[in-house]
Symmetry: D3
Subunit: 225 residues, 6 copies
């Protein structure tokens, strides 16, 4: 299988870098890469949001803030590269075609953000589409897709299985903004839909066992193409 | 004023390059650039669609097709550069920050597509946001925004003035696909909305008089921020 | 064997992209690449000439027109990349040394034009020289080298076998111009001569059976080093 | 005058970005740039050290850690770019020659780290040498050069005026390590010495009045060439 | 006027760098640049030939040797950049379009070789064509164009004035090879012809007075477009 | 083993390129690369010093001179690439991470200088650190480390075995200057120290038998980590 992982920045670097988690996820990715082709996109998380908030004091320019966020995603990506050692390609990849090349080298390409106007969720969906991946695994702060916001509604119910069309519907309600949090944004959802990409959306707890996740064992949400 | 122009590929190159139109629009842009800062984004149009259709025979990969389209937008951009002579920066610009630099050089930056997952409409909206432009002028095949598709409904009525929020609503109905035609796509509309960018959407007839258009004299649609 | 193919743009994209031919030639190249190292240079053809003609209305600058042509060669190259799927390197290669690297990756590098003042024929001859290729196969609109122009002289006779020195003599009569048509230009011929590169010059009909061509079965002209 | 500023990362981003300070220093730099040519190098500070410490869990490789630190210096540099608005060049500059070019454009180049094995102090000294700057202003956490470490020795005495040779002597005692803190490192000191660059070393308090600092009004240390 | 200078490597660096000559020609170029737009292409000369000869022991590959020669032209170009100080753009320019940009910055672009298969004579002719220069000045070891080789034939007569067509004829007799010496090569001559570029071909003695040369005062050959 | 070689420019190109030596060392490197991972850094030597001395007539700017030296190191590197044929990666590598990638391709990366302020000795130490090499072999004009300068003191004694700390002490006495000669400079020594890299420092005679050198058979100095 060819698998793309979309790892939220706030999962890797909640406040300070979560060294234990990064080490564990690297271990799982290496194990998975023995049988599968693997690529990873890393987000900006809380550090990115701090920098973006600071930039906001000086300018309302969202595109500029996207550029700042991209720098932080690359620093986060470097941490994962460090943990993967010789298994990772040592540059942060910035082009989907280069990611493809790295896979031919039997190495794991690690990407961050690529371009203003795209979250790293959108990047991972485009990458999955470009690589014609068999599976996209989204690792986020929430442990799946809910029928309403679980942080506000205690009765929110996690959805085990939805379609890509439902994913788009759900995502459309919350708009894409630089450094936004939550489930995948609408643009990412649409790329998943147009590419008909099988997707698992899982929480950090599941991510400790990524090797199981790719075999379908997890408590998150399955998005059917 | 700082003005971004978004010129549809099928306006510049309907089938073959429309040399008369390209020469005329270049003349107008030079005239405008005497008083204003000007940047232009050029689309792929019919040639792009031909190439994308051919690629579709070989692969369903939309991201790959976006890359092909980007190559054609650059060839189209080169035609406008030829017509602008020493007033244009002689490379096709691929980064918003470089476009800013070209403006500092008192030259006109010409961009094409930049990244998969974005139409050139979206690129022009992001560029306008990044440059904090005072005005975005969209030159397209249709002569403004209608309340329904004028090619299907003979009673479709052109809207003289809409808000950015209405633009998003209208655009949401037609989804972004590589090489799509029509009014600006949903993603572009959202960037116009988030950047609160004043926008004129005009047809090719108006584009022959761009100098007037930027002074508000045109038969297209005004999108209010 | 290490083989460089020089595929004329008007063969691949006579007017619109010739999807059947592109698919067929990709199939042959993949078959050949199982036993041989393969690299391909793609020309601009009719689309390039249309764009160059349009640019000529604005400027007599041949070097500028070369840049436009290069953009179209890249779009053409992308079509072949699409057809080759995972066997092709997904970028259009712009440097001979990168082409060498791609061959080490067991992939097929696809190039277009590289620099003003060079046709893609010259690029393919330089690439063959740089790679110290065993064979250069030129696929063009004419089905070989004739003793006079077959489009003008009905008694023109196809030459089965010539030397590189004869090739230079023949080519010297028609001068290199941006977007020119016909047999290889004088500069390309000189590179073939200085590199002493064995070359087959074949027509489109033969190109449907490229696998046979590389084994010497074709109706074109053999250029002996 | 041509002036290079070396602003420590922990001055700009002590923990979170110090928005007030960044805004103030940007204001001063713009004022200074009206009469002088200005370039700025920004360090990594505490955020860089956090990331480097995390990487250290995975690898002892100092060169790799330098690369991580460089990413953070660029994010820090972007904050200063945001605050400088149209006065700053919008890319983080990575080559001294490009910095020179930006100065010709009448803009302020902002650099971060450039290469492993160099702190941003060394980068700023090399930049000052390359630009043949009249003055290098180092803004750091300590308010000048002391005869012993003021954080350990309460009787440490600030030195008003030293020579470049003395600076080297003092700096030689503390060795260059990725993400090290304190006064300029030995390598930076040697570049200041070989370039015979007049240097002011000042604390954050002085930096609020950079306009005065460049006129010699400050409580830091003057390093005489 | 816009003037391109083509300065032979063996003129600048006969064996060791000719510091006096480099200083003198830089002085003249600065003087000329006060009234004219100036660009310079520098050749490889004797050092390049030494390196190419060494490479020849290892490989017959001419294209590879061209790459080596290009490295030396860049080192030579750097010497001229050093001598021109702040008047020169500090990078060796590798693209004609960038050369154009540098001219907009009121600086002098210095180029070396650009691509295999082209001498620096050809580069300067293409640059002159691209920039639509009013004049190309070729500074070479011989003091003009002769009716036969002056190093072999004591009765060789210098030609005061020839046409571009005659230049091509003369040049066609000596073929382009990497690191070749003498008057401009055939390919360069053809570019001069197709671009109809007015050209002066002068010797080193004349080059000490380049300021006069551009006003037509020299003992070399005038090539009429 | 992973081994980095640091070959002094004046060893490869004493005055003219030493073709015999380059051929011999290439032969040894290929033999070594059958069992080990190999990377090479090449210095500038006498040619670099000639160019740097010439530049010194025009400017005291050491950083600028470093850039000139870097160009010559690349030309020297190209000679070694020519001699290594298909075993070497055909570009001069400029980034440590790319060197790593080339090793994954089972090819030998050849580097020259990378950045002002670093000699190629320092580059090779950083590369060894980055690659976590098992051994660094320094090939220089002197046949090991002496207790005093053997060119001045006839009683100077070669040291068979020293520690990295002693190496730093010895190197600290001679300061880093662009194009300097002698044993490794202080900065390089410090990188060897911080990376705890086992190092052999050998002369040209030993370099004819590099295959033996890497097995510990040589007359140079062993630097113990």
């Amino acid at each position: 299988m060819r698998i793309v992982f979309d790892v939220g920045g706030s999962v890797l670097v909640p406040d300070d870098p979560d060294v234990d988690f990064i080490g564990k996820i690297a271990y799982e990715l290496i194990k998975i890469s023995e049988d599968h082709e693997v690529a990873v996109v890393v987000g900006g998380g809380r550090v990115a949001r701090k920098y973006i908030r600071a930039a906001k004091s000086f300018s309302p320019n969202e595109t500029f803030k996207d550029y700042i966020g991209i720098h932080i995603t690359r620093a986060n990506a470097m941490l994962l590269i460090a943990a993967l050692g010789e298994k990772a390609y040592p540059f942060v990849i910035q082009d989907f075609r280069k990611a493809w090349e790295v896979i031919q080298l039997k190495k794991i390409p690690i990407m961050g953000g690529t371009h203003p106007g795209h979250t790293t969720d959108a990047v991972s969906a485009l990458l999955a589409e470009y690589l014609q991946a068999d599976l996209l695994v989204v690792v986020t702060n929430v442990d799946g897709v809910y029928d309403s916001d679980p942080r506000k509604n205690p009765n929110a119910r996690k959805l085990d299985r939805i379609t890509v069309d439902q994913l788009v519907e759900i995502a459309m309600e919350s708009e894409s903004r630089a450094g936004g949090s939550g489930v995948v944004d609408a643009l990412a959802a649409k790329f998943i839909q147009r590419g008909r990409i099988k997707t698992y959306i899982v929480g950090k707890e599941d991510a400790y066992h990524l090797f199981d996740v790719v075999r379908g064992k997890h408590n998150g949400t399955v998005v059917e193409p």
